[in-house]
C-alpha cells in the first residue's frame, strides 16, 4: 500500500454526487423540451431561473441548517414577518436601504430566537420551528390586521424588477448569495463547524467547536435568507402580504434533499441545492406550459420528486 497523495477520490465523489442531481435536471428538461417547443427558448429559461430564485434563496439557508443537523420549518412566516415590517417601513417613507436593513434584522432576529431555543434550550429543531411557524405568522397577521401592505416605492421595486444584461436582478442577487454560501460552507471555519456539528455534535464540542454559536449562526443565516427572499418577493409583487411564504419550507427542504442534503445532518451541497431548486422550478414551469390540469400537476409533482430522488440515488451510490 503506497500512500496515495491524490485528492481525487473525495473530489470526484463530490462532483459525482452533484452530477447525479444535474442528470435528473437534464432528464426532466429533455422531456419538457420534446413536449413543448417554448420550453427551451432563452426567455423561458430566464423565466425558470427567475421563478426559482426565491425558493433558492430560502433553500440556501435551509441547506446550512440541515447540514448542521437541524431543520427550519419557520422560513415562510419569518419571510412574512420581515416582509410586512419592511414594507411598512418603506411605505412610511423610511429610506430604502434602511428599511431593507430593518427587514433583514427582523429575519436575523427571528432566526436568533429559534436558534437560541435550539442551541441553548436544547429543544428539538423540528418542534421549535414548528412553533415558530405559528408564532411568526401570527405576529405578521396581527401587525397587518391580515391585510396586505401596498404602495411600495418605485425606487425599491426597480431593484427587484430590473435586470442586468438580460439577467433579472433577483437571479443575480441569489447567485451572489449562493456564492457566499458556498464559500462559507466550503472555505471557512464556520462551514467546517456546520458539517462537524451536523455530523457528530458531541465530538465537535469536545474538539472545541463552538456548537451553540454554530447552530445559532445556521438559524440566523436561514432567517436572514428568508428576509432577503421576502424583499425580492414584495418588490416583484408590489405588495407585502402577511400570508406570504406559506409552504416555502417544504419547497426549500425538498430542494435541499433533492440536492443531496441528508436530514440527519452532516451532508449537503450548495450546488446540489441550487440544482434542486431549478428542478422544482422547471417542473412547475413545464407543467404550466403544457397546461396540465390541476390534479395532474399535483400528481406529476409527487412522482417527479420521488423519481428525482431515485435517479439521484442510483447515480450517487449507497449513501442515503
Amino acid at each position: 500500500m503506497t500512500p496515495s497523495p491524490s485528492p481525487l477520490p473525495l473530489l470526484s465523489r463530490i462532483r459525482f454526487r452533484d452530477a447525479g442531481t444535474l442528470l435528473g435536471l437534464i432528464l426532466i428538461s429533455v422531456v419538457f423540451a420534446s413536449l413543448t417547443p417554448v420550453f427551451l427558448t432563452a426567455p423561458n429559461l430566464v423565466n425558470i431561473l427567475q421563478q426559482s430564485s426565491i425558493n433558492a434563496c430560502i433553500a440556501l439557508g435551509m441547506t446550512l441548517v440541515i447540514i448542521s443537523g437541524g431543520i427550519d420549518l419557520s422560513v415562510g412566516p419569518v419571510a412574512a414577518l420581515s416582509g410586512v415590517l419592511g414594507a411598512a417601513m418603506l411605505v412610511a417613507g423610511v429610506p430604502i436601504p434602511l428599511a431593507v436593513a430593518g427587514a433583514l434584522v427582523v429575519g436575523l432576529f427571528c432566526g436568533f430566537l429559534s436558534g437560541a431555543l435550539i442551541a441553548w434550550g436544547g429543544l428539538q429543531p423540528f418542534i421549535v420551528t414548528l412553533g415558530g411557524l405559528s408564532l411568526f405568522r401570527a405576529l405578521a397577521l396581527i401587525f397587518t390586521g391580515g391585510t396586505p401592505i401596498f404602495g411600495l416605492p418605485d425606487g425599491f421595486r426597480a431593484v427587484t424588477n430590473g435586470s442586468l444584461l438580460g439577467v433579472p436582478n433577483p437571479v443575480i442577487i441569489v447567485a451572489v448569495l449562493a456564492l457566499l454560501a458556498w464559500v462559507i460552507l466550503n472555505k471557512t471555519p464556520l462551514g467546517e463547524y456546520f458539517m462537524a456539528v451536523g455530523g457528530n455534535p458531541e465530538a465537535a464540542r469536545i474538539a472545541g467547536v463552538p456548537v451553540t454559536m454554530t447552530k445559532l449562526a445556521a438559524y440566523m443565516i436561514s432567517g436572514l435568507m428568508a428576509a432577503v427572499a421576502s424583499m425580492i418577493l414584495i418588490g416583484r409583487l408590489g405588495a407585502a402580504e402577511p400570508t406570504l411564504g406559506s409552504l416555502w419550507e417544504l419547497d426549500a427542504i425538498a430542494a435541499a434533499a433533492i440536492g443531496g442534503a441528508s436530514l440527519m445532518g452532516g451532508r449537503g451541497s450548495i450546488i446540489g441545492t441550487l440544482i434542486g431548486c431549478i428542478i422544482l422550478g422547471t417542473l412547475r414551469n413545464g407543467l404550466t406550459l403544457m397546461n396540465v390540469q390541476a390534479f395532474y400537476q399535483l400528481l406529476a409533482t409527487g412522482i417527479i420528486i420521488i423519481v428525482a430522488m431515485l435517479i439521484d440515488k442510483a447515480t450517487s451510490g449507497k449513501q442515503g
Partner: protein
Amino acid sequence: QDLAPLNSDSEPDRMDWSELDAKFGQMPVPAAGTKVGGVSKTLTNEYWRSLGEGYANVATKLGIEFVYQAAQSEGDQLGQLAIAENLISQGFNALLFSPQTDANLIPAVEAATAAGVPVLNVNDAVIPSAANYVGNVQKGNGVNVANWFIANRPDGGKVAVIEGQPGVYAAGQRTAGFTETITAGGKFEVVASVPANWSREEAFNAASTILQQYPDLIGFYANNDGMALGVVEAVKAAGKAEQVAVFGTDGISDAYAAVRAGDLTGTVDSFPVLTGEIAMEVALRLMAGQDLPRVVATPQALITKDNVETYATSDMAALRAALLAN
C-alpha cells in the same frame, strides 16, 4: 324532514336578497340576551373579515351578543370543526357557518340541529344538509367576467384562468362558470387553466410563464383578487398592460384600489360586508320563525373603472341603494 342535498347555485327554492323586506316585512327585533355565533374559514383573507364586519354591524345595531371565530389557517378542517363544536356547547341561539369544505362542519350542523339551534350556511362551501344558505352564486363570478370579455372584446382571442386550490368548490365553480360561458361562442380560447393555490406569488409565476408562451394573450381571470393582483404585476413586468385584461374575484379593498389605478381591469365583488349583514338578518328572521326559502342569494357585481366609485362605499345603506337601483 329529509332535505335534498343542497346545491346553492341551482337550488330552486331561492330568493334574491332584495326581496326580503318586500316579502317578509321589516326585520323582527330579537329578544334581549340573544347570542349568535359565527364560524368562518380564516381571518387571513380580507373577505372573511369583512363578512364578520357585516355580522357585527347588525349585531351591534340590535344590541345582541355576537362571537366570531375562525380556524387558524385555510385548510385547517378539523380545527374549524372543533371550534364549531365548542361554540355549540356554549349555548348560542343561532350559528352562522362558513365551512372550509362542503363536509367538514357536518357533525356540528347535526349537533346544532339536534340541539334546536338554527344553522345558516354562509357562502362558499356548501353543506349539503344545510337547511338554509346565504351567499352568492359562485358560478356567477366567472360568468360575469366572461360576459365582460364577450361584450368588450368582440374579436375574441386567447384567455387564461388562474385557479385557486385544486378541489375547492368555489374555485371549481368560478373556473367552470368562466370557461363554459366564454368558450360557448367559439371566439375565445382558454389556452391555460392552471392552479396557483390562492397564492399571489404562484399566480405571478404562472402568469409570467403563460405570457411567455402566449404573447398574444388578451385576458386573465383569477379565482380571487390576491392572485389577480399577482397576475397584474406579471402583466406589467411583461409590458403587456395595454393588451391584457385582468380580472379577479371577491372585491377586496386592494382590488378596488387597483381598479381605480387602472392596473386591474375588474373584479367581481360579492360585497362581503353586505353579505354579512344580510346573513345576520336572515338568521334573525329564521329565529323569529319566518319561513324563508332555502337559499337567499346575495348581491354580486362586476366592478370596473366605469362603476368603481359607485360601489366603493363603506356606507351599506348607500350600497344597498346602488345595488337595488340596478
